[in-house]
Subunit: 692 residues, 2 copies
């Protein structure tokens, strides 16, 4: 419900004397729980604040910009217009966690006119939903501003208390960190950064810089997330924390010469988002980020298919094979890939990812070299022509890997030829990779130019009807609504770190991801590791997979993605075909999703309904603590019976001592059943419900 | 003739004690005039020196590198091998000033091994020709060096005296400066830079930095040029002068992060060249730069055609029309271009350049904007389809303009589509432009990445059988031997500056260009301005064309290019059809060239023989002084009579007071004739000799 104060009614005849009166505007969410107010201070500063059910969420926090061209500070304004509107609509995603999404908000758009002689107009548009707020800056076409360069964005988020916070260090190149859980006042990005040894490329921002999305939990039980939506033509927003003031300020990623963004009116920033709820489960079901993105640009999305795949990938990570041909252990040889195609066909997978297929891996990483790969030249021991034919006969598609080694100028030059080659070979999904320092040199993975690149890839891929799975790209911000062929990205610490020697992946990591990184969009986490012993591979790992096998299954439900990999080796699945059945069965596209229970860093239980059928899947995971939970099944249709197939930790299971101890049991259930489930330390449970 | 000292014979059994002996190596030119010596000092420094007929040209000057990865200084070496060889061959250029070029040198290749623990091997290869020296560094494949980053090149050129020197300020973005003539000790790049107001984009290096090619004249009458050849995969070399030591040191153009070059063994630098002669005319006929470039990569060059063209260009410069459509004065409209096509057809020109044909000019310059032009969308008032058909019927080709506005990432993305579009339209020549700050941001026009770009354009254009005329590109270094479809470039102050308000083009400028910029390759100078009055155009110019009309004709001979524009407006040519006849007649491809007389900054007279016929053309130009010269015609075949058509300044001509006063006369001549010619102040003379 929109409640603009009566003052608004006189805006058009705003008296000059009134400008000194400190006008205030406010807008509430449709359900009245959230209330956002904006004040124009006597010096011209503009601040917003936010309450949830009367509790302070955001204390007065300033808005503004510093431009380097024209050289001007946009922090002192007169509010010269205010417009309000509201929207209540539903829309259908091409694929996703739910069939239909409601987009319901009240909006307040304030026109700020800078108090200098240029009188630059900036519109700040606030959208207040029941589950949070989004706001962005818009620079309309105007005489005194056409092309401009952003030196700094001055958006503040002042928190109302020293909350518990889940954060990773600010870094312009990577987001593959483990989460830290501290108070705001205890944030120490430097110490956290120094612990990390296994990230291929970092560009640490500073001891007080953290990444968004940030998740906080307040003393009085609010869950707050700060993030951004619709990141287009703008750099990634990191955040600088003032630990004394409990304030975060936007820290945009710079380009090679230190500028942040080059814009031309009409222009707008991404949405700055604040999710708020007193229930953790609500945060996980929020569609606010998606709602703030533009509708799909793809009019006929019939070629876009959620899919499950296996692949030539984990073999390399564990040292059984290599990406490069040199050395005699080349993984992507015709015979080996054929084995994966046979496996995929036998067990009903859509795709086979093949990494290390193309010439260049002998010399690809760490040298800031521009011309590494051409994306169209297979290694001589990899007969792609015959394999695509073979795969087609078996109803399987190869997924092509385009590792750019960070040389994006090279990739952009060759992208058309590469996509044409894919088309010719009947390949319709590409996994892109950006391991290495970016070329154009001086750009970062998170800078405006790279953000533009990821978008260009999505757009060009759509022209060729290709689906994209981007790795080492910047954090997703709901753009899969606009570009539904951009199926998933990595942009966080994924399952590959189970093989990293230093920190690996902690048991709690996957209970935090859905509250942070996954808010922005699907992740190609690559779950499904079935083999936990350290002695099996050539490569000498000191860490290992820190889950039970049952938890690996549960991740297919708790981590949503329309592209899900079964990451382990065929022989490891064949050693556990009974458990593997769950991965074979679990869908990657859903009609509905219910967040049953969730606490960041502790546990998550999610139920999802398969698309077009009355069958459900549940995933439940825990952190390093074992838990005994009871899953209520009231999501099932009342009065109907379902066959539940439960893949759970054995009572003796423990990620450290007994990870492969699982039990599979079947039982009839209905909507009134309470399923008691034991989750081992680092454990989980996956359940399939088939309507009888 | 190669004279390696006997010491060389014991190189393979080089005794350890000998390493402290300061070994010296030397090599002389085939005619013995030049003698280059290399010494290995007791601390490991390696210096070279050069004499010409016993006179010192280069005093002992050091060689070396600083790498930033691996972090090492490569300045102290042991010379561990020496190889000598020689070459004497001739080759035929696809087009050019002469039919055949002799490549005759003696070579000395020294292997320097760095005195640190890495023992990095660098080969310095010297080639000593009769007209100068070229040397380059080569980094062979070796265990301790694969990928490396050049932080600095430490090549010195210590001159033997405080010579007169022709120089322009060092600048990473542009070479469009007027030349300054001082002593070496008087170089003051800052003052020179500050005088320049009309160059669109500059990146001034510093008060002691100058550009190459540098031309010097010594007190005892030697002409010395320092330059580079075969600039590939390396940044442009500028030079820092030490005015006290009379020494120049290489100053490579940095990239966005300050590095100079990213190389991978085997790698090599461009050739550093020193031309030396006691006759100025020899410098102008030197083919050393070309000889140091690799042979043509184009096996069938039959599609490469030297050409003369007119175009939609000077109209915009003088303010009669605009590039942009907005404003109502759009030059490149169908009707106007048709007029140019008619004019070209009527007077026998091959091409019509059309600038401002494509959407984007409203918003193209100065904003560091990435997506300006798409190179395939004509303005709505420009019907390219109909015009290419019309031109084809008339035997004329449109020359397409690709202004990138410096946004090279955008151009590289679109280049294939743009070249395909050209092919479809039957257009076979592209004029590229790079007005504006480079994107990738932080790169310079002269940095390694951009040098790579110009090469990529030449290579891709060759794939599409397109000829290239590049403007605002880096200085040419003889690459037109390797890429003969890269016909010409600008890369200096061209005729457009006749319209620049501040300094314009001095009368001496064109007498210096052939000694400097033109040593590297053809220039699209765009001569042929016939209209000298200031009152004719909308645009308020304060400078004007500072030549006589006859000198404009002479420039077609004194400035060699296989692409020559007749730059003025059709109506201005039609007001002087008699003089215009010379431009119609003068060829752009030659069998032979004789430099008859030349003194940098003063005068130049050149005779050229038309390809495949016994007819000659002569151009003679002077600076601001009038001169009475006598041109000996001994280049003509003895005993034969030729009809000379002489386009000369009238006796009353003067660039300031009477520029359009010319006389055309015909007379029979033979090889014994001495033609007395009066050159006005700022004047010139053009002569056609037709064999009777």
């Amino acid at each position: 419900m929109l409640t603009i104060k009566p003052i608004l009614l006189v805006l058009l005849i705003w008296p000059a004397t009134f400008l000194f009166a400190k006008p205030t505007f406010s807008v509430t969410s449709p359900n009245d729980a959230l209330r956002l107010s904006v004040a124009n201070g006597p010096t011209g500063n503009v601040t917003y604040q936010l309450t949830y059910k009367g509790k302070k969420v955001i204390e007065p926090s300033s808005l503004g910009f510093v431009l380097s061209k024209p050289k001007i500070s946009l922090t002192q304004f007169t509010i010269t217009a205010a417009d309000s509107s509201s929207k209540n609509e539903t829309w259908k995603p091409v694929w996703g966690e739910v069939r239909e999404i409601r987009n319901h908000y009240d909006e307040l758009a304030l026109t700020l006119t800078s108090k200098d002689t240029m009188a630059i107009k900036v519109v700040v548009r606030f959208r207040v939903f029941d589950d949070g707020v989004g706001f962005r800056y818009e620079f309309p076409e105007q005489k005194s501003l056409t092309h401009f360069i952003v030196d700094d964005e001055k958006t503040q988020f002042v928190l109302a208390g020293d909350h518990k916070i889940f954060w990773i260090p600010g870094d312009y190149e990577t987001n593959e960190y483990l989460y830290n859980t501290t108070r705001i006042s205890e944030i120490d990005a430097k110490t956290a950064f120094d612990k990390e040894k296994d990230i291929a490329l970092t560009s640490f921002i500073g001891p007080n810089a953290v990444q968004s999305p940030l998740l906080m939990k307040t003393g009085d039980g609010l869950y707050i997330s700060i993030y951004e939506a619709a990141l287009i033509n703008y750099p990634v927003m990191h955040l600088q924390v003032d630990k004394r003031k409990l304030a975060f300020t936007s820290q945009l990623t710079p380009d090679a010469v230190g500028n942040k963004a080059y814009l031309q009116t009409p222009a707008q920033t991404p949405w700055r988002t604040i999710l708020v709820s007193d229930r953790a489960t609500d945060l996980l079901s929020s569609k606010l980020i998606l709602n703030l993105n533009e509708p799909s640009t793809i009019t006929d999305p019939s070629w876009i298919k959620p899919q499950k795949f296996v692949g030539m990938w984990w073999e390399m990570h564990v040292g059984k094979a290599t990406w490069e041909k040199k050395g005699g252990k080349h993984g992507a040889n015709t015979q080996n890939v054929k084995k994966y195609i046979d496996f995929a066909a036998k067990y009903g997978f859509d795709g086979v990812l093949v990494e290390g297929w193309n010439v260049g891996w002998e010399d690809w990483f760490g040298n800031w070299k521009e011309n590494v790969f051409d994306f169209v030249t297979p290694y001589s021991d990899y007969n792609l022509d015959s394999l695509t034919t073979y795969a087609q006969q078996k109803g399987v598609r190869i997924i092509m890997h385009h590792e750019t080694s960070g040389s994006v100028t090279n990739y952009e030059r060759r992208m058309d030829a590469a996509f044409q080659y894919m088309q010719k070979e009947g390949i319709n999904t590409v996994k892109t990779g950006y391991v290495g320092r970016i070329i154009p040199r001086g750009e970062h993975h998170d800078s405006q130019w790279m953000v533009g690149h990821y978008q260009r890839v999505a757009e060009k891929a759509a022209q060729y009807k290709l689906m994209v799975d981007s790795h080492e790209s910047s954090h997703p911000t709901g753009l899969h609504r606009t570009y539904p062929n951009w199926m998933a990205s990595e942009a966080a610490r994924g399952s590959e770190f189970n093989n990293a020697p230093t920190l690996g992946i902690t048991p709690e990591h996957t209970t935090i991801l859905p509250f942070t990184r996954l808010l922005g969009g699907p992740m190609d986490f690559t779950p499904g590791l079935f083999r936990f012993k350290l002695d099996q591979f050539d490569y000498k790992r000191t860490t290992r997979v820190r889950t039970t096998l049952a938890k690996q299954l549960a991740l297919y439900v708790t981590i949503y993605s329309p592209l899900q990999m079964a990451a382990d080796l065929p022989e490891n699945y064949e050693a556990h075909l009974d458990a593997f059945q769950f991965i074979r069965d679990v869908p990657v596209d859903w009609d509905d999703t219910k967040i049953i229970a969730a606490e960041p860093g502790d546990y998550i239980t999610i139920a999802r309904k398969i698309k077009g059928k009355d069958s459900w899947y549940v995933g439940a995971i825990t952190d390093e603590n074992s838990r005994d939970i009871a899953i209520g099944l009231d999501f099932l249709e009342p009065g109907k019976t379902y066959q539940a197939t439960i893949y759970r930790d054995a009572l003796t299971a423990d990620w450290q001592t007994n990870p492969e101890a699982y039990v599979i049991e079947k039982k009839p259930v209905n909507s009134k059943t309470k399923l008691p489930i034991h989750l081992a330390k680092g454990g989980g449970c996956a359940i399939q419900f088939i309507r009888k």
